[in-house]
Symmetry: C2
Subunit: 384 residues, 2 copies
DNA sequence: TCACTTTCGAAGGAGCGCTTCATTAGTAGC
DNA sequence: GCTACTAATGAAGCGCTCCTTCGAAAGTGA
């Protein structure tokens, strides 16, 4: 109800420009005629719109494709390279960064290891190195950076301030967005990492195109997120998906079934313990299988709660343990069948470790789209 | 990405017509100048748009308001009476119906009692009587009916077929939408009653304007629904909100704490039992208070699950027991404080028994709006 | 080289919204 | 009852955006 802006003639042109951009982003280079047909505009009008878009730097003409009948047609493509986006994943052991064009196509990736207990400044320094590395790898300058999108665990408010972080307690009350903006003068977005992973899976992962899905982050720490109606759900205070905090969900201690299993060799560091159990279970070890069974019993409770509340089309299993999806999925499906009203599809993540970085980039792309295609957006800006 | 329709000149006119309708629906009668200012159009253009809307029957001119300076201004109003909507609530004991104008303003209401065990045809007959009664009361004919929107318990698929109904098992596999359409030849929508109640509370009830909320239906039967991003969440298979099916939520048997309390007199019919307990608790009876405590203990588990998963701004307590919200809310808040990451506001329903009927009407209004204001909608139709 | 196909570019026309300005229908003051 | 003031009205003229139509152009294939 807020968009009470009556349209000028220029508004119509703007609408048609955006439609053209959408058409070009959806398909590869298109001839003028093809563009006109897709947008429903006449050829002469389309030409005028295209000329304007070229002028503004959003679109560029590519040389005609040879070997076609008739007079060669002008072809246009969206200039995805007229700006760049960076996605960052601040994890406990690594800071990952990736640089992409405006279509979200990844052009460079870097990883900076950090110690889990590293102090704040060290972590931020790793972040700066990771991003700078991406820029260097892709020969991009900071000026071409439009948006940096950061994923980290915890609850982050709308302004990018960390409200709470279980993984990195020292981050509490940190103005993360502000700190990043000091390093790189561009737009900075901060989101919870599980939500970004969920977004990635629903955009280019195993749940591509799915509008209602639940993402489970299973690993040493549990997390969850939901894509609802095609958008990641944040919640009023950005605290959605924290089902792990509910004792009755039995999520919080669930990983202990795997960590404390008898098949784990003495002296194994805690971060590797679960891997032994899952591997043994894959080989049919009955003790490990029983531990996995107890783990999935617990996992299924919180999952069923999400499924019953949201009725998603797909549940995606992601996070560190999802490497052992072959071991986890069958028993999880079996438990869910018993509990759910309508059984969703249960699939394993296909993006693996890159999930959060990729999701961060998808989030930046989505943010850009929202700005461009918002019903009350201004005219198309120059791309510089 | 689906709206790849480039705009014609007529498209612009259509946009402006819709903007004008929105402006008129939001405020009461408006003068031409006021309309022009709100929509951002110039006065002459606005005049042309208004003339067209009058022609089509969407808008009508009302006589100028006297007592103003200067030449009296033409005033226009949205003709909410150019069509009518019906909302129906098929409950266990009653079939309620209400008739409204296109603004959702309720013009007539009826109620038809039915026995909880009544067979299918009897229930449908009551539905027909309830709707006919509304039409008679408001002197409306069937031809003026645009939409009938029906709420009932259970899971209903997109086409209006009942998948599952705990309250009325006989309805299973019934093509409810089809049956209603046979009685009244107009558009028929079917939705789950808890979802409609949630919608009503978020549109005109205690959570008016709230974009993320959770609605709890507490009564002899438990139910829940969520409004997410301003729209009621259905779920992929229309089975969202069924948290009661999860044993660990402790919802299914929760009402037994109230029904089985020692303060309930011998021989009380089961539907009245909880009322005694709640009344006694209000008077400070320690036995009743303890029963209420156990009830709220259980209620809080499923509620906390929803809150942790969705992080709503507001939780609304509705359903039969919400009449005793004064008894239930304080202990519920206290339990949630302990469990939730971010405590939502917890409020009591303000719409009471009318909740579902009103929600059904709101649903019909929303459906109409979606059709009118959809980005790929056709030109404005005649209102007949 | 010629027919054929498809696109290009220019010209003319229609629809929509904007600005401007004299006119009109009320109210307020004397 | 007359005059000044106020605010809306209605008509005229302009500019922009899109449309249709048509001859010309630039390729392919025989």
């Amino acid at each position: 109800m807020a968009d009470l802006r009556g349209g000028d003639l220029s508004r119509l042109r703007q609408l048609n420009s955006l439609t053209a951009i959408k058409a070009l982003r959806g398909a590869g280079p298109l001839t003028l005629s093809a563009l006109a047909e897709r947008t429903g505009l006449s050829r002469p009008s389309m030409k005028e719109v295209a000329d304007e878009l070229v002028e503004l730097g959003w679109v560029e003409e590519v040389r005609p494709s040879p070997g076609t009948m008739g007079r060669p047609a002008r072809r246009y493509r969206f200039r995805a390279d007229s700006g760049h986006l960076v996605g960052v994943d601040i994890g406990a052991h690594n800071v990952r960064a990736a640089l992409s064009d405006l279509d979200g196509e990844i052009l460079a990736e870097t990883r900076q290891p950090v110690l889990p207990g590293a102090p704040l400044d060290e972590r931020l320094a790793a972040l700066e190195r990771a991003i700078s590395g991406c820029l260097a790898l892709s020969r991009t300058t900071v000026d071409d950076l439009w948006t940096i999108s950061v994923g980290t665990s915890g609850v982050i408010d709308v302004e990018g301030r960390v409200i709470y972080s279980a993984a990195v307690p020292a981050w509490r009350d940190l103005d993360l967005a502000g700190r990043v903006r000091e390093m790189f003068p561009c737009e900075v977005l901060i989101e919870n990492d599980s939500r970004l992973a969920a977004l990635a899976e629903s955009r280019r992962g195993t749940a591509k195109g799915v509008r209602d899905m639940v993402f489970l982050h299973v690993g040493r720490r549990m997390g969850a997120a939901a894509v609802i109606g095609g958008t990641v759900h944040r919640g009023f205070g950005a605290a959605s998906g924290e089902i792990v905090m509910l004792p009755e969900s039995r999520w919080f201690d669930a990983p202990e079934h795997l960590n404390g299993c008898a098949v784990v060799p003495e002296g194994t560091p805690p971060e590797d313990a679960a891997g032994y159990t899952l591997a043994a279970a894959r080989n049919g070890d009955p003790v490990a299988l029983e531990a996995v069974g107890r783990y999935v019993d617990d996992l299924a409770v919180g999952t069923a709660a999400m499924v019953l509340i949201l009725d998603p089309e797909v549940v995606v299993l992601g996070g560190g343990f999802s490497r052992s999806a072959d071991v986890l999925l069958p028993p999880l499906r079996e438990r869910l069948e018993r509990r759910c009203m309508r059984m969703p599809e249960v699939r394993a993540s296909t993006l693996g470790d890159e999930c959060v970085v990729v999701g961060a980039i998808d989030y930046a792309v989505e943010h850009l789209d929202r700005q461009l295609f918002a019903p009350d957006a201004g005219p198309l800006p120059l791309t510089r």
